[in-house]
């Protein structure tokens, strides 16, 4: 026997692709040709060996889980999701996950930087506002203290020297761009002595001078700066105690070396007098 089976036939034999007629002819040849039988056997062994070696990689469980997730999404929404949508919904692979993570980290870093910048700007503005407010308060404390000391030290009498509120209040008519009220009843041992027209923050204000026992108390009545209520605060300056109060467009500053409680009491009475006036006028 000189003619061997062609290589294609041996492959087809190993792959089970021969027709019954071809298979019968091949089997007849193999029964007589040991070389072709060996070759056919080798082809079959090679095929089975490749089949075993080829099953090398098993799908990782997370991939299978993800594929099932696709199915659940598609079933749940009864739609076939677009690839882009799903790729956005689920991490796709390590390489893309890394790039997605990088993008997420990038956005997170940008967001963090933005937050830090906004926070720093906000904090800086708050610090500036606080510093400005403190500077304004310090300036007011210095002015009020100077005015009070100057009044105490002055040999000049007060511009209006009277304990009668109906004398003192009308005196300011035409001198101040606002009006205020004086309380009827004062605490014991407290007495109105008179008033001056003076200036704070370059604005005309009423300086009411009270005596509390032997102590003198200056109460400055001014319009609230910028037409808004300013912050209420208290401070000590040169041995004097200063308190502020706001009411109905007016700001009151009381300064004295008297007991702070009594100073606060007087300031509250004057403050209530403004409120009562406003309520009565309504």
């Amino acid at each position: 026997m000189t003619d061997h089976l062609p290589f294609a036939t041996l492959n087809s034999l190993a792959d089970g692709e021969l027709s019954p007629e071809q298979l019968a002819g091949v089997q007849q040849h193999l029964a007589q040709c040991s070389a072709c039988t060996t070759s056919a056997l080798h082809q079959s062994l090679l095929k089975s060996a490749i089949a075993k070696a080829g099953q090398r990689y098993a799908a990782p469980q997370h991939l299978v889980d993800r594929l099932e997730l696709y199915r659940h999404v598609a079933q749940r929404h009864d739609v076939i999701p677009k690839a882009g949508l799903l790729s956005g919904l689920f991490a796709r692979s390590q390489s893309k996950a890394v790039s997605q993570n990088k993008a997420i980290y990038g956005w997170a870093a940008a967001a963090a930087i933005l937050v830090v910048l906004l926070s720093s700007v906000f904090i800086q503005r708050r610090l500036n506002e606080t510093a400005s407010l403190l500077a304004q308060q310090a300036s007011l404390v210095a002015e009020v203290t100077d005015q009070h000391i100057a009044t105490l030290a002055s040999s000049q009498p007060l511009a209006v020297l009277s304990s009668d509120k109906h004398t003192v209040k009308p005196w300011f008519q035409g001198k101040l761009p606002f009006s205020f009220n004086l309380p009827e009843d004062l605490p014991a041992d407290t007495r109105l002595q008179g008033a001056n027209l003076t200036y704070l923050r370059n604005q005309p204000v009423a300086q009411l001078l009270y005596s509390v026992g032997k102590h003198r108390v200056s109460v400055f009545v001014e319009q609230t700066p910028d037409g808004r209520d300013s912050s209420k605060f208290s401070a000590n300056s040169s041995g004097f105690h200063l308190m502020t109060a706001t009411t109905d467009g007016l700001q009151l500053e009381a300064i004295s070396d008297v007991d702070p409680a009594r100073l606060s009491q007087l300031l509250d009475i004057i403050q209530r007098a403004q409120t009562a006036t406003a309520s009565a006028s309504r």
Partner: protein, 200 residues
């Protein structure tokens, strides 16, 4: 009407009521295995399988129940691979210049008859037991030969199914299978452990 090749009636008819997941999920491991062989990268293989599933899921309404789902989804996998980065690179660097005409009839004289060792020595049978040698030999195959041998030997597809998956004539399938096995044999015979000195 001429049906597409993968739409031929399958030997085991698939009930029409079968859902996509019933057909696709059991093939996940096979798809991943082929994808890993082709891409040679686990992450890319996952991408490839997922992309295949998404495409199959979206196009499942066009799939005719009762036809060959395995060939259909493997064709999607293969086409997706061809458009991937590694697929483009693999196909660009491999030139198959001696494809056979694809009329389904093989021409025996065109096959590399010299590639087969008819006097197969026993040592040639021994290397078939060496899985590492086999895997290395498979890795050396160019992508067009590797994919055809995987579909034929690992997935046990018929030539017609392979032809439909790869969109090539059956003659080309047979040619590539022959060349792939011949290349495997050559590589295994030259594998270091079976050098003549060692054998001696």
């Amino acid at each position: 009407m001429r049906l597409l090749s993968w739409k031929r009636a399958s030997q085991q008819a698939i009930p029409q009521a079968f859902a996509f997941e019933d057909l696709a999920l059991p093939l996940a491991s096979s798809l991943y295995n082929i994808a890993h062989w082709l891409t040679r990268n686990p992450a890319e293989a996952e991408d490839l399988v997922q992309e295949t599933y998404l495409k199959a899921l979206r196009g499942f309404s066009a799939f005719e129940p009762g036809t060959n789902f395995k060939a259909w989804i493997f064709r999607i996998l293969r086409n997706t691979y061809l458009t991937s980065r590694s697929g483009l690179a693999a196909m660009r660097t491999v030139a198959l210049d001696d494809e056979l005409s694809g009329n389904g009839e093989s021409s025996p004289q065109l096959y590399p008859e010299a590639a087969i060792d008819r006097q197969t020595p026993e040592s040639n049978l021994l290397f078939l037991c060496d899985r590492t040698a086999l895997e290395n030999a498979m890795q050396l195959l160019p992508a067009p030969l590797l994919e055809v041998i995987l579909l034929c030997d690992v997935e046990e597809m018929k030539y017609k199914e392979i032809a439909s998956v790869l969109d090539i004539p059956i003659g080309t399938v047979m040619s590539r299978i022959a060349r792939a096995r011949a290349a495997m044999r050559r590589t295994l015979q030259n594998y270091p452990i079976y050098t003549p000195e060692f054998r001696a």
